[in-house]
Amino acid sequence: MLRKEHSSATQGTRRDTPARRMPAEEGVWVFIFGDLLVFGLFFLTYMYYRGENVALYVTSQGTLNEIFGFTNTLLLLSSSLLVALGVHAARIGQRGAAAALLAGAFACGAAFGVIKVIEYGQKFAAGITVLTNDFFMFYFMLTGIHFAHLTIGLGVLAFLFVTVRKPALSPGDLQAIEGGAAFWHLVDLLWVVLFALLYLMR
């Protein structure tokens, strides 16, 4: 992070800090904060219904595959790191590295998807579906809606990959990259909460 040069002309009483800047385009945050609000509502709705039948939720939750959940969390956290580094690389002109990092992030996201499908498959094979009980209704709905976000996110990452390989990146391009990256981090963030809510809460 660049620090402003401390010029001797200023009287140095004010600490120099990097200026505040808006990551991505303003409007993207309408979308992201909107999603945070709605998911917040989802989380609280889940807690409300859970409170009506704690025993059911605890026993059902016991059948979840925590190793999958844990692995998926690590995958998304890693993919977010790669995306964040990719954005940074794009900013300093290392477009090749940026592309590689974004591809890595995509791979992590895709791996998450594969594990999710396997996890759902295991449940279906055991006869458990969205209609089985209230816990599983929420489990499938919450992780399913998240999965839809992840799928869209993979599309966004692909778009970022293509963008970053352009011969030159305009400020508009960089903004778009930041916006897409922010959406991917949202996908990661939501999963972090879902993991604790669905898999870890006893």
Partner: protein
């Protein structure tokens, strides 16, 4: 009457339509909160018996309200054409998907009318019509998803020097598009937040859609006023 006046009339027909729909839904038909999907046939039949006039009048107003959304969607189409210029696929998509949005809203209300038309029917028959009405009204989220995506993408694709609509409204509309989809899940549940009377399948989408309608009316009014022909 110049085009600006025409556009403003069309735009504001939308919020008026929403209000009329609301009056039909609630003070008249007493359908807020929505009837419970888990209710027994006898309970449903009793409601239609007791409230047969209110439901029929309410459904009539609902249909009027829905019809008055059409001019606003027309005005949105014109606005999108303004943004896109000669080749306007988003405008065309918006127009077509708007029609598909309005149709089940009309049909749902119509079916409520039929259910209330002969309250002395066998309770199972009334319950089936009630199911049909609510499922038709609440579950088709995909048409609005498409419509909102078209509007959102068009707004964000505005390459003009002075964007017709603020960019944040494009993002907001895209976000709303995604929220239209969970309504379809009401076909799976008779209780809980995803049932047709649930927080996430009914209140959230319908509430947000109404809010969005009012917001778009204000934004488009500004856009029309700023327009130099």
């Amino acid at each position: 009457m110049n085009s600006k006046t025409g556009q403003l009339i069309c735009i504001w027909s939308g919020p008026v339509g929403l209000a009329i729909f609301g009056i039909g839904l609630w003070p008249l038909a007493h359908f807020l909160p929505p009837l419970m999907p888990s209710a027994s046939a006898d309970a449903i039949a009793a409601i239609y018996s007791a409230d047969t006039l209110g439901i029929r009048l309410g459904a009539m107003l609902m249909m009027l309200g829905v019809s008055m959304l059409a001019p606003m969607f027309g005005a949105i189409t014109v606005m999108l054409k303004r943004i896109e210029g000669e080749n306007a696929p988003y405008a065309a998509t918006q127009l077509l998907s708007a029609a598909i949005v309005l149709t089940p809203l009309m049909l749902g209300a119509l079916i409520f009318t039929v259910a209330a038309f002969r309250p002395e029917r066998a309770p199972e028959a009334t319950q089936m019509l009630n199911d049909l009405g609510w499922i038709t009204l609440v579950t088709p989220g995909a048409p609005f998803f498409v419509q909102a995506m078209a509007i959102g993408l068009a707004i964000l694709g505005d390459k003009g020097a002075a964007p017709v609509m603020p960019r944040w409204s494009g993002y907001l509309t895209l976000w709303l598009a995604v929220l239209a989809l969970p309504g379809a899940l009401a076909i799976l549940f008779k209780t809980g937040p995803f049932a047709w009377n649930g927080l996430l399948a009914f209140w959230l989408p319908f509430g947000l859609f109404s809010g969005w309608g009012f917001m778009m009316a204000f934004l488009m009014t500004n856009a029309v006023k700023r327009y130099k022909a």
